[in-house]
């Protein structure tokens, strides 16, 4: 049975051939990067990836920091900010992922942060709701750019305007948007923008990073060798060394650079248009069944969460996988507060597309989901 992979919001698959090629090529020669070798014969993949990421996000290369993942980035930014602003207040949202919620709860338990959660309605957090939670001692806000459950793209620009007026540091979690929609960090007006390499940027797991507008705003929380200013026994203040130490995931960053190149060559706008067209098709097909509940019918990235009445999300995921070879994700998707509101915390089935998802795969997925829904309705009717 051929696999139809519709779990790209977790990790994208397949990867472009050129990403796979560069992974192999990057291991063909020794490492050539500044500061750690006399060799100059090969490609400095780290610098290349930094330039590519900066280009994609309309930032300066010195504002791009590489990490292991979006979660790693959020931890570095939040903990680094708190190091300079211990005891402050923050605002996050109910759409946020545990990569945000868990650090905030841990820091609150440790007594070094207090925070409030902005609720959402219809898939969106209103900028006014964020505004209403701001206090005198609010120093930072963090929110997802697009919900990993609902696919709803948030009005981060409007939020940034509100926060900038009050000099509040603004972190945008772009794990679900980078590669799916055009991101211009200057236009958004955020102070930090977090991305991951293994989703829509088509790189491999173990790569991620963040854009940081002003390096002075956060303190480093990891220390070690950078290959630069080695006589100094304190972490350099230069970017990106202030936040990057130890040997990087060079092979992974080679893949990330190539993944970004691929995304650019396909065109982010074209990728987005394809994903939206296919998502709209799935929504229209799912609407054919009365017992399918779509949790957000107009996502801005190709992420669609649903439940079938009378069946658990795990049942639906199991049947899709075993009977049809369709891989989705089920459960809470590491975003528990979203599910408290949309399904009472029981979890949903999530379909998420990539630029490699074909129309035929969408048709097969829609047919399969409708067949399961039809069977569930029969059981319900006969019960």
């Amino acid at each position: 049975m051929p696999v139809i992979y519709l779990n790209n919001a977790a990790t994208s698959w397949p990867k472009p051939q050129r990403v796979k090629d560069v992974l192999a090529e990057s291991l063909e020669l020794p490492v050539f990067g500044s500061g750690r070798t006399t060799g100059t014969q090969g490609i400095d993949y780290i610098s290349l990836a930094r330039e590519k990421a900066a280009g994609l996000f309309h930032a300066d290369a010195k504002q791009i920091v590489f990490t292991h993942s979006a979660t790693d980035s959020l931890n570095i930014i939040i903990s680094g900010f708190l190091k300079k602003n211990r005891g402050c207040h923050a605002v996050a949202t109910a759409l946020d992922h545990n990569s945000v919620l868990r650090p905030l709860h841990e820091f609150q338990r440790d007594g070094i942060l207090r925070f409030d959660i902005a609720d959402f309605a219809g898939g969106y957090v209103s900028p006014d709701t964020i505004s209403s939670l701001i206090r005198k001692d609010t120093k930072f806000a963090v929110m997802t750019h697009a919900s990993n459950v609902l696919g709803s793209v948030q009005d981060v620009r409007a939020v940034a305007d509100i926060l900038a007026d009050k000099d509040i540091f603004f972190i945008v979690d772009g794990a679900q948007t980078a590669g799916h929609i055009a991101v211009d960090v200057e236009k958004i007006g955020c102070d930090a923008f977090v991305f991951t390499g293994h989703k829509a940027l088509l790189g491999v797991a173990g790569t991620g990073g963040f854009y940081l507008k002003d390096a002075e705003q956060i303190a480093p929380t990891r220390f070690g060798g950078t290959g630069t200013q080695s006589s100094e026994l304190f972490q350099p203040e230069d970017m990106p060394e202030k936040f990057e130490c130890g040997t990087q995931n060079i092979t992974g960053l080679a893949a990330l650079a190539e993944g970004i190149s691929y995304v650019k060559s396909r065109g982010v706008a074209d990728i987005h248009a394809q994903g939206m067209r296919q998502t709209k098709y799935l929504v229209s097909r799912f609407r054919e069944a009365e017992n399918i509940r779509i949790h957000h019918e107009t996502p801005g990235v190709p992420v669609l969460s649903f439940n079938i009445e009378g069946l658990s999300c795990e049942d639906v995921g199991f049947i899709l996988s075993r009977k049809y070879g369709i891989i989705t994700r089920t459960g809470l998707h590491c975003a528990p507060l979203v599910h408290e509101k949309i399904d009472g915390g029981s979890g949903s089935v999530r379909i998420s597309l990539s630029c490699f998802t074909t129309d035929a795969e969408c048709t097969a997925a829609a047919d399969a989901v409708l067949e399961i829904a039809e069977n569930a309705a029969k059981r319900f009717n006969s019960a």
Binding site: L311, E314, D315, F318, I319, G331, L332, G347, N375, R379
Partner: protein, 119 residues
């Protein structure tokens, strides 16, 4: 019916521990009918040869299709040590005229231990 062994396993997002088992004979509707003595069974009988899900809260769930020779079991991690042998027993005891009373006694004994553990 016998569980021949686990062919894959993973930790699930809901905190449970999933094991996929190879069986020595195909699953059947009758097997899930028999499981109703021990928990809740839901079915989509027209889904392929029939999709079945057995739920026994705080113990484990069993999912599978009639006709398949593999089955997915999700254990509650905290009680897995107590419940695993009962899972094997459920499969191996399945036959016409199975001694349900004896199995219910064994279930009761384990249920007591589970209740103490989760107290």
């Amino acid at each position: 019916m016998r569980l021949k062994g686990s062919i894959q396993h993973k930790s699930c997002a809901d905190g449970s521990y999933m094991k996929e088992y190879q069986l020595d004979e195909p699953l059947s509707k009758e097997f899930f009918e028999y499981l109703k003595y021990f928990g809740r069974v839901t079915a989509l009988e027209e889904m392929g040869d029939g999709y079945y899900n057995f739920e026994k809260p705080n113990w484990f769930s069993i999912k599978g299709f009639a006709g398949d020779t593999t089955v997915e079991v999700r254990f509650k991690r905290e009680t897995m040590e107590i419940t695993t042998d009962f899972l094997y027993l459920l499969f191996s005891s399945f036959k016409e005229g199975a001694d349900i009373t004896a199995l219910k006694e064994k279930e009761k004994f384990r249920q007591k231990r589970i209740a103490e553990l989760l107290k």
